[in-house]
């Protein structure tokens, strides 16, 4: 009796699931078909053939030179490279600054603790877009003209024209950098070194400062998860407080930190898409310009989504490998 009932239940389960698959496939097919019909009715062409046609716009900065006569796929590639060019430095700054602030939030000094807490509470409770727009406005309006740059540090100049920093250069025909080129101030602004555009400085600074607040909370939670006995044992062994942190606490805290940090790096990468709002030509900005010129919204958004999914997978894969190294043995 009960065997029969459960067999009937299993059949029902498969029937419902088969119907569900059918419904999803039919729904997707209808959506695509209907969208194509509407596009055809409006006389819009569809398909990815535009990728090999000239883009019709140029990209002002980045590692890949790009001008209007080159095909669109190169524009997307330049955009992707620009996304990576902004996200990687931002991730490094965010992790370093966030770790320092996270440790500072637990420091045995009330002023230091207070300043670090204030940083976290101020930055994580204001939308990133507002912070980026504010930074962009400050870069464009409140800084001095390029002819009168501010000397921040030796070799670092800041003005409306952007940031100039020393940069390694390769010698004649060599691959390996031989020396640093230092920016120098001339009559018409700063020359030499790496000249970083205001848009680039805005997105990297904004992303790192905002993400650092979240990284700080992750680091703090990780440190708090290490048992008090470990600290006492470190003290009993006569380790200094810096040694305790470096040898005893941080290696154990990493086990708690790394999975959350992976999430944070993923969200940092996705947040780099906000650069479209401050005029830095990364992937989303390139796609947006392309949609504006040829109306292929579906294709361009599909490219954005596919590329971000790919980036997410790469980051997850790398961080999971790292996680396997810091995790306890047998606890993957």
């Amino acid at each position: 009796m009960s065997g029969q009932a459960s067999r009937r239940g299993a059949w029902l389960a498969w029937l419902v699931q088969a119907l569900l698959v059918l419904a999803v496939v039919a729904g997707a097919a209808w959506v695509v078909n209907h969208a194509l019909e509407v596009l055809r009715a409006r006389g819009v062409r569809s398909g990815f053939d535009f990728l090999t046609e000239p883009a019709g716009f140029s990209i002002s900065e980045g590692w890949l030179d790009f001008d209007a006569s080159q095909p669109s796929w190169r524009a997307f590639l330049a955009g992707l490279i620009n996304t990576v060019r902004a996200a990687v430095p931002a991730a490094i700054f965010a992790v370093v600054l966030g770790t320092l602030i996270g440790i500072g939030r637990l420091a045995p000094h009330v002023l230091l603790r207070g300043i670090c807490t204030a940083y976290v509470e101020l930055l994580r409770n204001v939308p990133l877009l507002v912070q980026l727009l504010m930074l962009a406005f400050a870069m464009a309006n409140l800084l001095p003209d390029p002819t009168e740059p501010v000397h921040l540090l030796p070799g670092v100049w800041l003005s409306k024209g952007g940031l100039s920093v020393p940069w390694p250069v390769t010698g004649e025909g060599g691959w390996w950098p031989t020396h640093f080129e230092w920016p120098e101030r001339g009559d018409f602004g700063v020359s030499g070194g790496a000249a970083l555009s205001p848009e680039y400085v805005t997105i990297v600074a904004g992303l790192s400062l905002y993400s650092a607040a979240f990284v700080a909370e992750i680091v703090r939670a990780g440190i708090l998860s290490v048992s008090q006995g470990q600290v006492l044992a470190g003290q009993a062994l006569g380790l200094s407080s810096v040694q305790q942190l470096r040898i005893v606490i941080l290696p154990q805290a990493l086990r708690v930190i790394v999975p959350s940090l992976t999430n944070q790096l993923l969200s940092l990468t996705k947040n780099s898409s906000l650069a479209v709002a401050v005029g830095y030509p990364e992937l989303v900005s390139v796609a947006n310009t392309t949609i504006g010129s040829n109306g292929r919204a579906f294709e361009c958004i599909a490219i954005i989504m596919a590329v971000y999914l790919l980036l997410s997978l790469v980051i997850s894969f790398g961080m999971n490998r790292y996680n396997a190294r810091v995790a306890l043995r047998g606890w993957r």
């Binding site: 699931q17 969208a35 509407v38 045995p108 002023l111 603790r113 300043i115 727009l133 919204a297 958004i301």
Partner: protein, 352 residues
Amino acid sequence: MRRVAQGPIAWRSELWGSPLRALATVLLLGLLAWAGFHAFEWGVVHAVFRPDADACRAVQHGACWGVVAEKWRPMLFGRFPYEEQWRPALAVVVLSAVTVLSAWPRSWRWWLVPLWLVALLLFVGLMHGGVAGMSTVPTSRWGGLPLTIGLAVVGLALAFPLALLLAMGRRSEWPVVRTLSASYIELVRGVPLISVLFMASFLLPLLWPAGWQPDVLVRVLMGLTLFVAAYLAEIIRGGLQAVPRGQTEVAMALGFGRWPVQRDIVLPQALRLVVPALTNSVVGTLKDTSLVTVVGLFELTGALGLALGGDPVWRPFYLEGYLFVAAVYWLLCFGLSRYSVWLERRLGASSA
């Protein structure tokens, strides 16, 4: 390094306990005094508080809070007709009142659901008009704070049931349901919100029959809902996983059916466990609504551009405008995160 002591006596030893600490104290106090002095001088001493553009332009090293005094209404209410702005103001009060009421665990009863429906109807009625003698205001003129709060609240409210289904689907015994839910969640969580919003504003119009185009606000709300649901689903799944399996087995042994077990035993416990995480997600959604600026809706962030961008007289004082908008967001988000901490303590204390 974790023994964070409290109280004035502990502070004294923290500040002056050793020569190194004393040095750090002096340096930090110097830094704070320097920064505080400059901020005070810029923001208060040399600042202009009157809505007087000439006075603002005359001052060299001071803030122009006059821009807030002059423009606070377009900053908060966007392009809503000026004489009718009591309506969005009242709409914000209604939604805030219901939110504050629902934030109190003692009011978590069945009557919250009809109360929310009434509040949402009131919100839409006040904003849209066309009833009770109020003039009709098209959604293209909605903006500012009511739009920010409305998008966040309605988006979350619509996303929640979907997230519940996705979370339970991901734990389903049926492989097809499990795969579909997991793929949806991972796909949406892997792409930026901005691409979802682009999709909502560029692609959804292609799916409707010609002649009947849903409003851009409705489309953006759909995009936001689909996006937020994936994140809420993962939070709820965490809660479902934390309910011991024995609970389900005991209930089944007592003769409960499959659905009553979920509805009356597992879900209430799971949701209670993740309320703090859900509150954090509310903060995230509230901040994320700022992105709708990019697809042309004038919520709080977009309304600022609207208020200052077209006005050459006040345009130079964008920074003060941004600080005002940032302060509004900060108050809302900080309040919510404090609430989350309070709730975590309270729920933790009552379940212990």
